[in-house]
Symmetry: C2
Subunit: 204 residues, 2 copies
């Protein structure tokens, strides 16, 4: 079944909506100040179009987030070390969390909006499931972790440390510099994985 190509105006509008929403989120205000009507207006589009294209607010946010996340996802799935598959597990865990942190820092407002969107906890989202699954499986490759039954919870706990609202609090409000935060997280991971307090920040 050849999936029917979208009409040209449809893709144009979809693009416009993405750009507008992205701009509105990036421009700083609180996530709930970015309203559906506002996005529609900024994109020069009717509200109906928004809802037909994305279903609901959460759908729009997911789509945007997914698009932003795409490069990182690819780097993780089929890229070179330290993010890609061919990396020793200890190093990869650290790289993954560092990447997640950087992403959250750079897309704080969007991530924040997504996490507090629509009732369903962020833990139900596909992207969370996949990050957690990956992190868990990498943790299980560490010596002594394989059958311990702790990998899953540890993965949750590590991801919790880079939650968007915590990041926003630390970076946005407390003014912790990005590199400082990366160093802290790196040390945290190191301490957790092998008890040694290696405080070097993860490399780029």
């Amino acid at each position: 079944m050849p999936e029917p190509r979208s009409r040209r105006d449809a893709v144009r509008n979809r693009e416009a909506v993405f750009a507008a929403a992205d701009a509105l989120f990036a421009e700083g205000g609180s996530p709930e100040d970015v309203t559906m009507a506002g996005i529609a207006a900024a994109a020069g589009v009717g509200k109906g179009t928004l809802f037909r294209a994305f279903g609901d607010r959460a759908g729009l946010l997911r789509a945007l987030y997914g698009a932003r996340l795409e490069p990182l996802r690819e780097a993780v799935e089929t890229g070179p070390p330290p993010l890609g598959p061919g990396t020793p597990p200890r190093e990869r865990v650290r790289a993954l969390l560092d990447a997640a942190l950087c992403f959250k820092v750079d897309n704080r407002h969007l991530a924040l909006a997504l996490e507090e969107s629509g009732g369903a906890s962020p833990y139900a989202a596909d992207h969370y499931r996949s990050w957690h699954g990956l992190l868990k499986s990498v943790l299980e490759q560490l010596p002594g972790w394989a059958g311990s039954g702790h990998a899953s919870f540890t993965a949750h706990a590590l991801l919790a440390a880079v939650r968007a609202d915590l990041v926003e609090r630390l970076v946005g409000e407390d003014g912790v510099p990005r590199e400082e935060l990366r160093a802290q997280l790196g040390a945290h991971v190191a301490r957790l994985l092998d008890g040694a307090a290696d405080t070097r920040p993860a490399h780029d």
Copy 2:
């Protein structure tokens, strides 16, 4: 200045509102199904009364949460070990987190509602500040942690591991038993603090 005692009907209503809201949250549904009008109706009270007494939704939630948290707060501040002040730091950190976890499990819906309430991130709330401050100061009593500059971030990361929505996901959706979760958290803390994977659950 003798603070003017509230009128009798005022305190009666305040009490009724507390009880009603508490019941509605406890009875299970999603936090946003518990509406201000609903609480007012359940308490046999007008909406205006709610807003005058608590300011806004967030205020009501904070008040309820505070009341629920009171016994635990007291146990932590002036109680006997392992929660109270006279406890060795390693043990106390574990006890604090265990207590926080249990509290969140028992009051999931209320905690969830509070955390996602009203725009302001949960990290702005007083009770979060105080828990974080305490945890941080206890961490700093551990050998090697005093001037490391890692205590604050570690405290944030540990508290993130007992976030209400994570707890809700694990206990409420994935069906992880309470004791299992406590054991996981205990192991997590132990691993973080001294690298040893001590998997015994914290005692009551």
